[in-house]
Subunit: 150 residues, 4 copies
C-alpha cells in the first residue's frame, strides 16, 4: 500500500465569512485522512498495544493553499508516508477537488505511549519505537512518493 485516498464533502461549518473553507480545517481533513490510512492498515490513531495506549502527537504541521475549497465540494485527500523514522512518521498530503489541486501538506507525528501521570498529575507522553506490526507495513510505503514533495 503506497498511498491512501479518502473523500469528504465540504460542510457549511468548514467555511468562513470569506465564503471558502477556513484554512485551519485542512489540518482536520489531513488528520482524518491519516487516521483512515491507519484504519486501512488495521490499526487506529489511539490503540492499546502490549498494555499501553499508543498515540501519535503531532510535532509539526504545514499546509500550502493552492486554490479555495467551497461548500459541497467533494475533496479527495491523498495520504502517503513522506518520511518514516524509528519513532516518527511524517505524512504527506495532497487535497484535490477533481483535477484541481486545493492544498498540499505534511504532518510530522511521533509514536508515544500515553499513560501514567507525571509528578504534576498530568498524563505522560513517552516516545517509543513504532510497534513492528505497524512499522513493517509503513516500510512498504516508499519514502519518497512521486508528486508529493515534502
Amino acid at each position: 500500500m503506497y498511498e491512501h485516498r479518502s473523500r469528504r464533502r465540504v460542510e457549511f461549518a468548514d467555511t468562513d465569512m470569506a465564503g471558502i473553507v477556513h484554512f485551519s480545517r485542512f489540518f482536520v481533513f489531513m488528520e482524518a485522512a491519516e487516521h483512515a490510512f491507519l484504519r486501512a492498515l488495521g490499526t487506529s490513531v489511539h490503540f492499546e498495544h502490549e498494555g499501553r495506549t499508543i498515540g501519535w502527537p503531532r510535532i509539526e504541521a504545514q499546509c500550502r493553499y493552492h486554490s479555495p475549497a467551497r461548500l459541497d465540494d467533494e475533496l479527495e485527500v491523498v495520504v502517503s508516508v513522506a518520511r518514516k523514522g524509528r519513532r516518527s512518521v511524517t505524512w504527506g498530503f495532497r487535497i484535490l477537488c477533481g483535477d484541481r489541486l486545493v492544498a498540499e501538506g505534511r504532518i510530522a507525528t511521533i509514536c508515544c505511549a500515553i499513560g501514567g501521570k507525571g509528578t504534576d498529575g498530568k498524563s505522560v507522553l513517552e516516545p517509543i519505537p513504532i510497534p513492528s506490526f505497524l512499522a513493517d507495513q509503513l516500510e512498504e510505503a516508499p519514502r519518497v512518493v512521486q508528486e508529493v514533495p515534502a
Copy 2:
C-alpha cells in the same frame, strides 16, 4: 455571586460563509462562560475531588438565535443557574452585543465521577451528588436572575 459575565470577541474562525457566527459556536461560547463561572467559584470543569476526577457531561443544550453576531463583535455572555438539582445543574445564558440580545441558551449538565474503565475498556461516567463546597455556592444563585451586575 448571582450571575457571571464574561466577554469574548468574535473571531474569524467563528464565522461561516453567511458572514455571521456559525450557530454551533454559540454552544462553545456558552460552555466557556460556564467554565469561567466555575473558575470564579474556585473550581474547574474538570477537577480532582476526594481522589476522583469530576466532570460535567452535558445532557441537553439549547439555543435561540435572536440576531447575528459578526467578526470583531464584542460579546458579553451572562451565565446564571437556571436549575440546581442534587446531581445536576442547568445553566442559563444570555449573549449580548452591547444592548442587543444575540442569543439565549441553556445547558443541562450532570455531575459525574470519571474514571476506571468499564467492561468495554471505555472510561465510565458515574453520576454523583455535587460536592458540597460547590453545591453551597450554587445554592446562593437565585433561579431567576434579573439585571444583577457582576
Copy 3:
C-alpha cells in the same frame, strides 16, 4: 421521501479531553445531515433562486445527549421534517450508533433571501416563503414522524 439518513465517522478533532465527542459537534453533525437531505431534494443550503441567494439561518437549535460517541464510531444521522411553516422548517434528528441512541435534536430554520446591504453596510436577511419547488417536496414529508418526538 419521509426521512433522510446519512452516515459519518467520529473524527479525532470531534473529541474533547473527556474522551468523547464534544457536545457542540452534534450540531455540526445535524446541520450536515440537513444539508445532505436538501441535496437529496435537488437543492442546497445556499442556492440561487430567481436572482437571489437563498439561505436558511437558524432560529433555534436543541440537542439531548443520550449516550456518548467516541473516536471511530460510525454514526447514522436520521433527519425528518418536524414542522413545516410557510417560511420556516424545523428539522428533527436522531443520531444513532448501531442500535444505540446517541442524541436527538431539532433545528428550526427560516427561509431567507440574503443580499443587498443594510444601512449599516451589513448584508440583509429577509424572510421569504419557501420556494414552491422545495416546499412541495417538503410537504411530502409527514409532519409527525414516528419515533421522532419534537
Copy 4:
C-alpha cells in the same frame, strides 16, 4: 510597534481526547492574534478600502509543537512580521505558557480585493498591493524580532 502580544485561555472545546489542545486549534490561535495585531494597527482582517473589500487569504501555514497546552492554560501569543512583500505578509508566531514555549508558527498571507463574481459565479480574489497606510506601519516592524517587549 514591533510585535504584538495577546492572551487567551485554553477552552474545553480546544482540547481533544489526548487531553491536550488539538493541533489544528493553534492555527486559530495564531490567526486571532494576527487579527488583534491588525486591530492594534487600526485596521481589520476584512475591511473596506477605496470601495473594495480587502481580505488576507492564507497561502501557507506551519506550526511546530514544542510542548502541550491544556485546559485553562493561559497562553500568550506573540506575533511579529516575519516577511513583508508588496502584496504579502508572513506573520511569525510564538505561543507561550508562562516561560514555556508551546508552539511556534508562521502564516503567509496575501492581500486581496474580494468581490465581483467570476464567470463561475464565485467571488473573485484579486491580489493587490498592501494599502500604503498599512504597509507603512508594517514596514516599521523589523523582520527578525528578538525579545522586544510589547
